[in-house]
């Protein structure tokens, strides 16, 4: 579920970071008022807890794939949506920095996918409504499952959109959606059950934690109006960013050289390498009509004949990089001795 840097383009990353930053700023503002000495450690502990549970992968029977909990609903229920969102954001920052799980550039995407939909859509619209007549075990279980499943479905759909907008994968929209949604349905049900188990336990043993959240200023009055406003702002930010680049750069929204340098010529080097490979593949391709745009570019800019030097150059670059590494390694190895003297 965590988006990696390798899967997104800078534009999508920046747009999602901007959107998440808006929601974070909003949450910080809201949470400031009721942050007492009890809530701060609770947020930290819940963060640690969800962090740990995100590390535990369980296999999904019959699919050969595995999933892990998101934990967004659990945070929203026990901490309230604003504190929950902030906690999720801090968990994901640690995941990105310490485990490389979900990149730093993709950070905004992940915060939005895992935090926004659960804390600001699923929680107020589903969980709160289903439990507004007071908590019972049945209501908690039902509301947890439904809200977890829906929150995760929205997050998974968001992953699909972000990946496709970034243009890093060839998967057609339909197959990608068909791949992601059912898997996350299964994960959502497990997540709902775990959330229900934890929340029910906390409610039975320490009801005041739940009551504080429900009656607290931050979570008690999340009206539809606020949600719609936040959604609109997020949509505007994302839409603004994406359409701005999309109109001028239709090819998968890649931040191509054409934009930054004004020529297509600089794009050519990579086609040098894959020209060779493409030529080989051309013979075995299923789709002979497939238009190789970059190949055409390469021909237009007269780079077709340089494929050999392209490969040689690639090899040389790596060799040069390795040489630099070796030199540093050698110098480093020597240094301690001189230090001791």
């Amino acid at each position: 579920m965590h988006m990696a840097d390798a899967l997104i383009s800078p534009v999508v990353g920046a747009a999602m970071t901007a959107a998440s930053a808006c929601v974070t700023a909003y949450s910080v503002k809201k949470v400031q008022h009721d942050l007492d000495d009890k809530k701060v450690p609770l947020m930290g502990v819940m963060g640690a807890f969800v962090f740990a549970s995100q590390m535990i992968n369980f296999s999904i029977p019959g699919t050969g794939s595995s999933g892990h909990l998101g934990g967004g609903m659990l945070l929203a229920i026990l901490l309230g949506p604003h504190a929950g969102f902030l906690t999720m954001a801090s968990i994901l920052l640690i995941q990105a920095l310490f485990f490389g799980d979900g990149g730093l550039l993709a950070y905004g995407c992940n915060v939005f996918n895992l935090g926004f939909y659960t804390c600001f859509v699923s929680y107020p619209l589903i969980f709160k409504r289903m439990t507004q007549k007071g908590f019972t075990t049945g209501r908690i279980v039902g509301a947890s499952i439904v809200s977890s499943v829906i929150g995760l479905q929205m997050g998974a759909f968001s992953v699909v959109l972000q990946t496709l907008l970034s243009g890093k994968t060839e998967l057609p929209f339909g197959s990608f959606v068909l791949l992601m949604q059912p898997i996350h349905l299964a994960i959502g049900i497990v997540e709902g059950l775990v959330t229900a188990a934890v929340v029910t336990f906390v409610w039975k043993v320490r009801p005041e934690i739940l009551d504080n959240t429900v009656t607290g200023k931050t979570s008690g009055k999340t009206s539809i109006k606020t949600i719609v406003t936040v959604f609109l702002i997020a949509a505007l930010v994302i839409g603004g960013f994406v359409s701005w680049f999309a109109s001028s750069n239709p090819d998968g929204l890649e931040w191509s050289m054409e934009r930054t340098a004004g020529t297509a010529e600089l794009e050519a080097p990579d086609s040098v390498l894959h020209n060779v490979l493409a030529a080989i593949q051309d013979k075995t391709a299923f789709l002979p009509d497939y238009s190789f745009k970059t190949e055409a570019d390469a021909e237009a800019t007269g780079y077709t004949g340089t494929s050999v030097s392209g490969i040689v150059g690639g090899g040389l670059t790596l060799a040069l990089a390795g040489l630099i590494g070796l030199i540093i390694y050698a110098v480093k190895k020597r240094k301690p001795r001189t230090d001791e003297e």
């Binding site: 930290g44 998968g252 080097p269």
Partner: protein, 254 residues
């Protein structure tokens, strides 16, 4: 269970590495953070059919890993943990595009570079200094506090978990792991016990004068070294992006 405990406990490893004292460790956290972000943007800005263009960018993480004396195995292990997801999404590319293998390779290389860059940042800077950099960059204090506390409480949670698992297994010999029937209240207890302990820790922090801002006595001023580090890496990234270094090198031998 102990496996999970181990892998989560590994989180401290990078933070420990950050306590070393090398030229890279001494760089101010803000320029380091900025260089990392520019690097990520440059790497991800390459088109999906690019492979050779990414080669020069290998230099940045490699030089830093070597200069900062980070054991390569540490980075490598974490890379292996992340790659499955990328393979999962990228492996289908060849099915839908005759040149899918190129895009697949491109994604894999980008994943390696971006993940390594993040790991290098944290293992040469450490959590406290990153938090300090975030504060310098005007990130709200509440968020930074939350970020720091979550990280610190992970160890607390794991310690509590280890204690509970030990107590449980002593009372339930001949049994592997925690029974499913007990797992709900087990997890719930874990949460509450950790919460109680975290609250005691937080209370004593407050009693010792903690006022919400995470203070550190690390170097706070940006020096010329930091500025040179920042400017030289960023200009290298821009050159690597604008000019086809492998192509130029190759054309020498044409």
């Amino acid at each position: 269970m102990s496996k999970i405990v181990d892998s989560i406990y590994n989180i401290r490893q990078l933070d420990d590495l950050a306590r070393k004292d090398t030229a890279i460790h001494r760089i101010h956290p803000v320029p380091k953070l900025l260089v990392t972000i520019v690097y990520l943007i440059v790497v991800t800005s390459f088109g999906r059919y690019e492979i050779s263009g990414l080669f020069p960018l290998v230099i940045y993480p490699m030089v830093l890993v070597l200069l900062a004396e980070i054991p390569a195995a540490v980075i490598f292990k974490r890379l292996l943990m992340v790659e499955p997801l990328i393979i999962g999404i990228g492996i289908l590319n060849p099915l839908f595009d005759p040149r899918g293998w190129i895009t697949f390779a491109s994604i894999m290389i980008k994943c390696g570079l971006t993940v390594t860059a993040c790991l290098v940042l944290v293992s040469t800077t450490g959590l406290d200094k990153i938090a300090q950099a975030l504060r310098k960059l005007k990130v709200p204090g509440i968020f930074v506090l939350q970020f720091v506390l979550t990280f610190r409480y992970i160890s607390l949670l794991i310690e509590e978990l280890a204690r509970m698992v030990r107590a449980y297994s002593l009372r339930a010999p001949q049994q592997k792991g925690v029974r499913l029937k007990d797992s709900g209240s087990f997890v719930g207890q874990l949460l509450l016990r950790t919460y109680d302990r975290a609250q005691r820790v937080y209370d004593s922090m407050k009693l010792r004068g903690f006022a919400g801002d995470y203070r550190s006595y690390a170097k706070t001023r940006v020096t010329w070294d930091d500025i040179i580090f920042l400017l030289s890496w960023i200009s290298f990234f821009i050159i690597a992006r604008l000019f086809d270094i492998p192509g130029l090198l190759g054309s020498v031998f044409k």
